[in-house]
Amino acid sequence: MNIIGCVTSMKSRVPVKLYKPTKWFHQVTEIQKQPDSSENIRGDLIPGSLVLRHVDSGSCNGCEIEISGCFSPTYDLESYGISLTASPRHSDGLLVTGVVTVNMREALQEAYSSVPEPKVVVALGDCAINCNGLRSGYGVAAAVPDLLPVDLEIPGCPPSPTKIIQSLRTVSKR
């Protein structure tokens, strides 16, 4: 064990300067629209916190780019109480992207049954909602609504972060 070496390297080499807040801080996209209380998606969900387990069941990775974009400081989805998690046990629902391929069907259903009640299913992107023209592929099983009770659809190929945030806020109600 290089005890001393570690301690000194920790002390000396980590830069001391404080990083300035991000350049485009002022450009943060405020999504002004407060969620409409009449759009009552899954009233049994506790408002204020929505933790989702993302499942890519056959996406082209385009929707994932926009979802990760939502978590950038520019949009900061987490500030609306919405976050992603590793374990479906910790989550309040699934965020499904892409068509459901034959090879992912069981995994998706497994993930759904691993989420504790009350739970939502969000189908994100045209592929998840209606297969977006890929239905006739021999490896494609179905669109998400054919397999799971979808509570919220976010259309787009891929939907923009603004759109995603607006839609999800109707669930988290923050």
């Binding site: 992603l84 995994a107 021999y138």
Partner: protein, 506 residues
């Protein structure tokens, strides 16, 4: 043997040849090609109803020559001797032949399934013309891995549903504590049957499909497809169109590389840098939208043309370069981050050569693989980043270098955008010889070299499209690079390769 040349633009000449040989001569012919310095860029099988044709495409990085070696097999008893001893990628293409076409591979050392998942019906070969509708089996029908034996070994199954925002794939670690003894990867969870979806459709529909191959590489894949179709139909494009296309590729490289760099920092818990990288990526995505009308650059490439809305502002690019260099130094100067990156998941050069890896992965291991230089569709003075260490640090540095190079190129050539142009020859592209009904497109996407091969039938419909994403070549590199890496470093190592699942699985 058929030999000709094709000129996509006025100053690029691509020598082309097709060699038709009997099955017995395949081994020798392939080894001749490999000996001449060409690399096996693509291999595909084509079901011609009465026979099955295998096509091996070689691309020579010195002469830009593309060679197709063709073998015909009988429909009912299709079999071919394995080329595993000659080329590792060939041995994987062969497994794909078997899984999708039912071609028997003789003397393959490890004829395991590659594409087929356990629940596929046994004699269903989906790419055959008479495959029909399968009834998928139910229950636990996993296909086995080679067991790793020894005391105290346990298995970590990870996936197909990964933690985080990652595409599906299954990783099986055989480990003792934190030491990885062996890593096995099973993919094709995203297998949609995309190649068959092309068949029977017109070339314009194919273009929209090719944008969905991998959402983060829509320019790369659609351009490779467009180049292949253009060659098949004999379309040549003007210099400025080719230039705009090249710059679109660089634009795609920018937003993906900055995202990778942020993710690498995030995987070692340095979220500050990731936050800044995400902001920069958002900025770039907005520029993408302004230039092409789509945040992921879709719709910018058309057959024989290009579609862009506005030019790139030099100051805008300068600002991006500045911000990037701040993010880069923030990561690069952090002692803990450097320590985490250095020496992690090393891919040695000799392994990299055997695997024939592509793109930044290859360049980080000391291989100068770059289709922009070796197999270009336009001649530009590209600078290729080079590293030799082959570890996470090297792949990080390659991405950072490439980002800067690309951003400078865009800064210098941003004025090529703002055009919506189409080649004049694309209008009268209906007269074609039997040989020109096939085309190959090679493009250096941000992950590496994408190769697409199309065949167009006499009724002007796509009869076979084969796409090879660089990830297809690079995936086997991960288990090899992981051999001396501990379990908790795997996500970082995997992210440093950042391979496409969607582009691989199709």
């Amino acid at each position: 043997m058929i030999t000709w040349t094709f000129s996509p633009t006025s100053d690029v000449v691509i020598p082309r040849e097709i060699i038709h040989i009997p099955a017995e001569a395949l081994h020798e012919s392939i080894s001749t090609q490999l000996a001449s310095g060409s690399r096996l860029a693509l291999a595909c099988a084509i079901d011609d109803y009465d026979s099955i044709r295998l096509v091996y495409v070689f691309a020579n990085p010195c002469t830009n020559r593309r060679t197709e070696i063709e073998v015909s097999l009988t429909e009912h008893d299709a079999k071919i001797g394995s080329l595993a001893a000659l080329s590792f990628p060939a041995s994987r293409f062969e497994r794909e032949f078997h899984d999708l076409f039912g071609i028997k591979i003789l003397n393959h050392p490890l004829p395991r399934r590659l594409v087929r998942h356990g629940h596929w019906p046994a004699s269903w070969y989906p790419m055959r013309h008479d495959s029909g509708n399968p009834i998928f089996l139910k229950g636990n029908l996993e296909f086995p891995f080679i067991p790793v034996k020894g005391p105290g070994i346990y298995e970590i199954p990870v996936g197909p549903i990964h933690a985080g925002l990652i595409e599906p794939g299954h990783f099986r670690f055989y480990a003792v504590g934190e030491t990885i003894i062996k890593l096995k990867i099973r993919l094709w969870y995203l297998h949609k049957g995309l190649e068959k979806l092309f068949e029977g459709n017109d070339v314009f529909y194919g273009l929209t499909l090719s944008e969905k191959i991998s959402g983060d590489t829509s320019v790369g894949h659609s351009l490779a497809y467009a180049l292949a179709v253009e060659e098949a139909l004999g379309i040549t494009v003007d210099e400025d169109i080719a230039m705009a296309r090249a710059m679109l590729l660089e634009l795609e490289r920018l937003y993906n590389h900055v995202s990778d760099i942020g993710s690498l920092a995030n995987d070692v818990g340095f979220s500050l840098a990731n936050a800044q990288a995400l902001v920069l990526r958002e900025k770039l995505l907005r520029i993408n939208e302004q230039i092409t009308g789509h945040r992921l650059l879709r719709g910018a490439i058309s057959i024989g043309g290009v579609h862009t809305l506005r030019q790139i502002n030099r100051d805008e690019m300068a600002q991006i370069i500045n911000t990037f260099s701040e993010i880069y130094s923030m990561i690069n100067e952090n002692a803990i981050v450097r320590e985490r990156f250095t020496g992690t998941a090393t891919l040695r050069k000799d392994d990299a050569i055997l695997l024939d890896v592509l793109g930044p992965t290859a360049r980080a291991s000391g291989i100068s693989s770059d289709a922009r230089i070796g197999n270009p569709f336009i001649n530009l003075p590209f600078q290729t980043a080079a590293q030799t260490a082959g570890d996470v640090m090297a792949r990080f540095q390659i991405r950072a270098n490439e980002f800067e190079n690309s951003a400078q190129l865009l800064q210098a050539n941003g004025q090529v955008f703002g055009i919506t142009a189409s080649s004049s020859s694309s209008k009268n592209a209906h007269c074609k010889s039997p040989t020109s009904a096939r085309g190959i497109g090679i493009v250096e996407g941000w992950r590496g070299t994408i190769t697409t091969r199309v065949e167009i039938d006499s009724s002007n419909r796509l009869s076979r499209v084969k796409i090879v994403d660089p990830s297809w070549f690079n995936w086997p590199a991960i288990p090899i690079a992981m051999s001396e890496t501990i379990v908790p470093d795997f996500p970082l190592a995997n992210k440093s390769f950042n391979l496409s699942y969607s582009g691989n699985d199709l």
